[in-house]
């Protein structure tokens, strides 16, 4: 059928934002290819009303492989199911989010179906004439942008960096079929058992999917000082992150770490205090839409990538930002 597929993700019965971000990417590609855009979900228990949002946000059709054994992500089973669908329906392109799920499932499936796969793309396009997917991604710590294609292998496969595109506006006039597909027993791989999920402490979940990330580095001096950054994050509706230094000193736990040995993020706003801007840290934040930095050292690397920089004592600057933001919100009401 040569459609464009995007892989939706759910969490606790709700579709995750990345599902909609992928549809805005997929919509452009499907229109260029003059084909249909299908959103595919491997899960269970989601009602049609919930799935319809995928149509309202750009999908022409929704396919859901509906089975309780797909409820929790186990790569072996999900990969069997997806590879089988690929062989049966022969999509032109499959896009998944570059989440822990997408970055585990897609390479697994790419081997099974003998397809090329490009990781963590930030730009996608269709090459005129060949109709191949042009996949552009940062590499070597974001210092180069590589454009990659798979000339002879199908489907075209890519994972896409979360937050690197915005969902389309809700259009409730859009209509499309929602088809439920039964999972075949032979695809169930029972070797790996999911024992449970220990949730993160509050305010951390999904640092890669947050619109605003407020981060601290070595310049924060001690763990207690992060409370002012937590206040700032709260004011901005964001989450807390930190540099490798901040994590290695025990001021924050590892899931907060941003940079080469931690998370790569692309928020609307990245604001940091006491962060010098090592190459490794910058690798994790370069595709942020806006970067704001507060640092005492006017020569700090971070200012090279900042859209707005304040040279000053963060222990004076941050509390004043918090106070002024609070005042601004009050007068706004």
């Amino acid at each position: 059928m040569s459609y464009v597929w995007t892989l939706a993700e759910q969490s606790h019965g709700r579709l995750r934002d990345v599902s909609f971000e992928l549809l805005s990417r997929g919509r452009i590609l499907a229109d260029k290819l003059d084909t249909k855009l299908c959103s595919l979900l491997l899960s269970s228990g989601l009602a049609d009303e919930t799935l319809r949002e995928l149509i309202h946000r750009g999908a022409d059709e929704v396919y859901m492989v509906d089975d309780p054994r797909l409820d929790k992500f186990v790569v072996e089973t999900h990969s069997n199911v997806l590879a089988d669908l690929v062989r049966r329906y022969k999509p032109h392109t499959i896009l998944a989010a570059a989440t822990s799920t997408g970055r585990t499932l897609m390479p697994h499936v790419a081997i099974k179906v003998t397809a090329g796969l490009t990781a963590d793309c930030t730009e996608l396009d269709i090459e005129e004439g060949t109709r191949l997917l042009l996949q552009t991604r940062p590499a070597i710590g974001g210092n180069i942008m590589a454009t990659i294609k798979s000339p002879h292998h199908w489907p075209q496969m890519a994972t896409v960096r979360p937050k690197s595109s915005r969902p389309l506006a809700l259009d409730t006039t859009r209509v499309g079929n929602i088809t439920r597909i039964a999972m075949q027993d032979v695809h169930h791989d029972a070797r790996v058992k999911v024992l449970g999920l220990r949730p993160y402490e509050e305010g951390l979940a999904g640092i890669e999917e947050a619109d605003v990330v407020v981060a601290g580095g070595k310049g924060m001096k001690k763990a207690d000082n992060f409370s002012m950054l937590r206040d700032l994050a709260k004011q901005l509706g964001g989450v807390i992150g930190g540099t490798r230094d901040a994590v290695d000193r025990g001021w924050l736990s590892y899931p907060h770490q941003i940079g080469l040995s931690g998370k790569t993020i692309s928020p609307k706003l990245y604001m940091c205090a006491g962060v010098s801007g090592s190459i490794q840290h910058l690798a994790g934040i370069k595709t942020s839409e806006y970067i704001v930095a507060i640092n005492q050292d006017p020569d700090a690397n971070i200012f090279q990538v900042a859209d707005f920089g304040i040279v000053g004592n963060l222990f004076e600057v941050v509390p004043l930002i918090n106070a002024k933001l609070e005042a601004y919100k009050k007068e706004d009401k």
């Binding site: 910058l282 000053g312 002024k324």
Partner: protein, 265 residues
């Protein structure tokens, strides 16, 4: 408990400087090191060996110079090292790399566990670990942040996902890709360095492996790089100085104006 740890040699990035004029990375004189994220895999393997016995074999696909990375791993305490090197392996993407490594690992010997780093700091894909698991049909846990227990032929791990730590129970043999939180890598010891110097590593070429020529190297790679751009990463933003009470006040006011202007508040 036989553990195999595939590693990669990458350019050292910590001493990389940015060219202020062009805003790009200065790449001259950059040395090669073990992919920093592979050190966590090596340490995790060494700890498991210390607790459960067995051996740790480190391996890599790369040019002859990659022997240096393998010797460093020996110096850290790994028992054996194998280099898969052949001009015909060159230019492999993640599909062809995982195909070659899977075939080569089978050739190296019986194993209970394969541990890889989450991704390499140069290619940054994280696709080779899951790819090897797919080729060898091994149970897979990615983003492992803690190894909880290992007994009766099963391993229990925690992996980092978006909502928290997911606990998985896998039968051996299995493949884990690990993140930094899993271990604190040790430094090579003097004795280890001495051992590494004397160590003769095993080398395997394409003819030694059960691989099809059409599936290895550049020729066997579905993906092709069509263009490389060196983006300007410097943004040339506004910079204000918060000096003195008035300066501080003005600086914060202009930041608020910036945030309002960009609709961030």
């Amino acid at each position: 408990m036989n553990i195999i740890i595939p590693i990669k040699q990458v350019p050292e990035t910590s001493d990389v400087k940015m060219d202020k004029e062009t805003g790009t990375m200065i790449r001259e004189g950059v040395v090669s090191i073990i992919n920093p994220l592979d050190l966590y895999a090596i340490e995790a393997g060494l700890l498991l060996k210390e607790q459960h016995g067995g051996s740790v074999t480190v391996c890599t696909m790369g040019p002859p110079a990659a022997a240096k990375a393998l010797k460093e791993a020996i110096a850290m305490g790994c028992d054996e090292a194998v280099l898969f090197t052949d001009k015909r392996f060159a230019g492999a993407d993640t599909w062809a790399t995982s195909y070659t490594l899977a075939a080569a690992i089978k050739q190296v010997g019986a194993f209970d566990l394969i541990i890889t780093g989450e991704r390499a700091t140069d290619g940054d894909t994280g696709q080779v670990g899951p790819g090897i698991a797919a080729w060898l049909n091994l149970p897979l846990a990615t983003y492992v942040s803690r190894i909880e227990s290992l007994n009766a032929g099963r391993i229990v791990v925690e992996r980092l996902v978006e909502e928290g730590y997911q606990a998985l129970d896998l039968p051996l043999p299995a493949l884990l890709t690990v993140v930094k939180a899993v271990s604190s890598p040790r430094l090579p010891t003097l004795r280890g360095k001495k051992k590494a110097r004397a160590y003769n590593l095993r080398t395997l070429a394409a003819v030694d492996l059960p691989v099809e020529d059409a599936k290895i190297g550049l020729k066997g790679s579905p993906t092709k790089v069509v263009k490389i751009d060196y983006p300007k990463v410097t943004r040339g933003g506004v910079m204000v100085k918060a000096v003195g009470e008035e300066g501080l006040n003005n600086a914060v006011d202009s930041l608020l104006d910036f945030l309002k202007d960009k609709k961030l508040v």
